[in-house]
């Protein structure tokens, strides 16, 4: 028994050391695909990025699956939204993986939401208000201007975590930043004619998009954030639409469309389903194509209904 145990321990140690030594590129665990894409823009070939969630998943509701623990175990760095978005599963992944590089306030832990101004910070938080985050709305990646600021912070952080490749990261970031600014200008021009549009959303997930486009959300299908639509609340919304005259009902591709379709049938307001992140639609393959698609679907849906 004792011999067997020591053989096992030796074998384990061998596996541990080889696995740690064999990795040349920086292994990054991203919580959401938007951050995977951003790390790849700045890290290029020098990083290997895994995304814990896909664009078809609600990032609030992910299981701390065995595969996530395995990926987190070997990661050199973690890049997540933070702001409590991943609070239902990330703490378990961080703890179970036994990897100090990806927890606490180490340099290799990067929470994107910390680097931008957040909207909807509640004055008080109570469970009876639904799924409200004490540090504000965490869905920050839907404002490309904020993504730009996060990119700058991420570039700095990557340089600190892997100084040997600092120059390459800085160069990649400068290139990305230039392309990103040009793209934002283009999207803003295309969306300018629908400024001030009023919209009903499924979840309060689009606040940053509206902040950018200067749109206004006039209601949500969810009676409280995170609480599924109820018939009574939907009926109340029918009345609200006659007052507020929204021109769109907006939901993410992963969300249940029954509530939105019900309201649309009764009010004639069109439903637009948008990818909330990369992978949420087939054509949304990186940050550029994601916003391309969002802007495209919105301006296509709006002309007839624009105010």
């Amino acid at each position: 028994m004792r011999n067997c145990l020591s053989v096992t321990v030796v074998a384990l140690c061998a596996v541990l050391t080889t696995a740690d030594a064999a990795r040349a590129e920086l292994s990054v665990f991203a919580c959401e695909p938007e951050w995977k894409s951003l790390v790849e823009e700045i890290g290029g070939d020098l990083v290997a990025v895994y995304s814990a969630t896909t664009g078809m998943q609600d990032p609030h509701h992910v299981e701390a699956r065995p595969s996530l623990i395995a990926k987190a175990r070997t990661a050199d760095m973690i890049v997540c939204t933070g702001g409590e978005l991943e609070i239902g599963w990330l703490p378990v992944v961080q703890r179970r993986s036994g990897n100090p590089r990806i927890k606490g306030n180490s340099e290799s832990v990067f929470y994107a939401a910390e680097f931008v101004e957040r909207l909807e910070i509640p004055e008080s938080v109570d469970r009876s208000h639904g799924d409200v985050h004490a540090s504000g709305n965490p869905h920050v990646h839907l404002d490309p201007r904020r993504v730009g600021r996060i990119a700058a912070a991420l570039a700095e952080r990557l340089q600190a975590v892997d100084p040997s490749n600092a120059e390459a990261f800085a160069g990649n970031w400068r290139d990305f930043d230039a392309r990103w600014r040009a793209a934002i200008a283009d999207w803003e021009t295309r969306a300018a004619f629908v400024q001030g549009a009023r919209v009903i959303t499924h979840h309060r997930a689009w606040s940053y998009l509206f902040d950018w486009l200067d749109w206004e959300s006039v209601g949500e299908l969810e009676p409280l954030p995170g609480v599924p639509p109820t018939t009574r609340h939907l009926a109340d919304l029918v009345d609200a639409t006659t007052r507020e005259k929204p021109s769109l009902i907006l939901l993410a591709t992963y969300q249940d469309s029954r509530g939105a379709n019900w309201l649309s049938d009764r009010t004639g307001i069109p439903v637009v389903s948008l990818p909330s992140t990369i992978g949420g639609a087939e054509d949304a393959q990186d940050l550029f194509t994601l916003f391309e698609l969002i802007v495209d679907r919105l301006v296509t849906a709006l002309p007839a209904n624009a105010q």
């Binding site: 384990l12 596996v15 541990l16 696995a19 740690d20 969630t53 896909t54 078809m56 998943q57 609600d58 609030h60 509701h61 992910v62 299981e63 701390a64 699956r65 065995p66 595969s67 623990i69 395995a70 175990r73 070997t74 933070g82 702001g83 409590e84 609070i87 239902g88 599963w89 990330l90 703490p91 378990v92 961080q94 703890r95 179970r96 993986s97 036994g98 990897n99 100090p100 927890k103 606490g104 306030n105 929470y111 939401a113 910390e114 008080s124 938080v125 109570d126 469970r127 208000h129 639904g130 799924d131 409200v132 985050h133 004490a134 540090s135 995170g226 609480v227 599924p228 992963y254 249940d256």
Partner: protein, 405 residues
């Protein structure tokens, strides 16, 4: 201490800070305080269970948890159970965990749930049914927790591969009648090996192998001296804690418990919010039940086993239906033990259970569940059955640790 308070704001998220996010505050603020309220009305009596007919409180938990510093985390979970005007306070968990060791290693010391099988390491409030499967109730006393030490190592492999070792005091697992003087200081030890991976974007699975060696689990001729001929224990100051009316020890014990578990989860595109399915199955086998002398008695069982298969399907954001079937073997003896030696015989009994549950969970924090159980028992070759109905609520207040897979 200042360090803990200086953590970035986005990390600070537990109840003390006014937490109300998705639910599961687990990092950041110095301490998470949470309670789980479990109340029920039960009609019928379940085998190997202390919960009885009528109104009762199930498993009311009060827990405190948080990071102690960058190297340690602490968890304290007290369980309050109340029945028949008696309120009992149990310490289910009181451990510190070294979390800064690196290389995939976590070490726990103190009182903790054993990691045996799929269910044992989980809190009862995470279950999809009102009670643990019969095999868990009979072999582990529902859920086995004890004082000891445990280490878990996650290997740096592409697929999930984890190895755990644990050692416990083990007194509560001792065979009935074992005298306290006979009990070793470390009497239960074992471990688990777990593998897991994704199966496409929608599915994921985990397989585990578990072992629990119980040095005082075997019933011996000596321990029998504390029994009468029907296997009932005498009131005797030497007998172990099993005497106690509210003891949570198992129904039957043996020198070795082994288990294999399989879990498969599915959600469309991996998005569990609206619909998801969990299938799990476990097989447990209890060996080394009786010493050499007792094994010679007619009908003496060599080993016992039990298993269950359960499915829980969340078919809408607010509703989950569960179906579970399980079987477990137990035994009892009619043994006369006197100066002439041992006479009598053993019988192996069988209990089967089919559970059907329907849960309504309007938010992440509240569940109201109805569970119907059809229980059939074959004892002495006679069959009996029982219909058990439980209506319960399980609600969580304050901070709530994120659930494991």
């Amino acid at each position: 201490m200042n360090r803990a308070f200086a953590l970035p704001a986005a990390l600070v998220c537990t109840a003390a800070a006014g937490f109300a996010g998705l639910a599961h505050a687990d990092t950041g603020s110095p301490i998470g305080i949470g309670a789980v309220l479990d109340g029920r009305y039960q009609d019928g009596t379940r085998a190997f269970s202390e919960l009885e007919d009528g109104f009762g409180l199930g498993h009311t938990e009060l827990s405190f948890f948080g990071n102690i510093d960058e190297r340690f985390r602490g968890v304290l979970t007290t369980v309050i159970e109340s029945a028949h005007d008696e309120t009992e306070l149990e310490l289910e968990e009181a451990f510190v965990e070294a979390i800064g060791l690196g290389t995939g290693l976590n070490v726990r010391a103190g009182r903790m749930l054993s990691g045996f099988g799929y269910l044992n390491g989980r809190h009862l409030h995470e279950d999809d049914f009102s009670d643990r499967p019969a095999v868990y109730r009979a072999y582990l006393g529902g859920h086995y927790y004890d004082n000891g030490i445990a280490a878990n190592l996650v290997m740096p492999t592409e697929k999930f591969f984890s190895i755990s070792l644990e050692a416990f005091d083990g007194e509560k697992l001792a065979a009935s009648g074992t005298s306290v003087a006979d009990i070793d200081t470390v009497n239960a030890w074992g471990g688990q090996v777990e593998f897991g991976a994704d199966a496409g974007q929608s599915g994921s699975w985990q397989v585990g192998l578990s072992l629990l060696e119980n040095d005082n689990g075997m019933t011996t001729e000596h321990s029998l001296e504390h029994h009468d001929e029907h296997g009932e224990e005498h009131e005797d100051e030497h007998v172990s804690e099993h005497e106690h009316a509210h003891d949570h020890g198992p129904e039957v014990t043996g020198g070795r418990l082994t288990g294999i578990d399989f879990t498969w989860k599915w959600a469309p595109d991996g998005n569990a919010k609206n619909r998801n399915l969990t299938l799990s199955a476990e097989y447990l086998r209890l060996d080394d039940l009786l010493d050499e002398t007792l094994s010679a008695v007619p009908g003496a069982p060599k080993h016992l086993d039990g298993w269950y298969l359960s499915a829980a399907y969340q078919f809408s954001p607010r509703w989950t239906v569960g179906l579970r079937y399980g079987e477990v073997e137990t035994y009892h003896g009619h043994i006369h033990h006197d100066e002439h030696g041992i006479e009598g015989h053993y019988d192996t009994d069988e209990t089967t259970e089919t559970d059907l549950s329907l849960a309504w969970h309007p938010s992440h924090f509240s569940t109201v569940r109805a569970t119907y159980t059809r229980q059939e028992q074959r004892i002495h070759g006679n069959t009996s059955d029982e219909n058990i109905f439980v209506l319960q609520y399980v609600m969580s207040l304050g901070a709530h640790g994120a659930h494991t897979y």
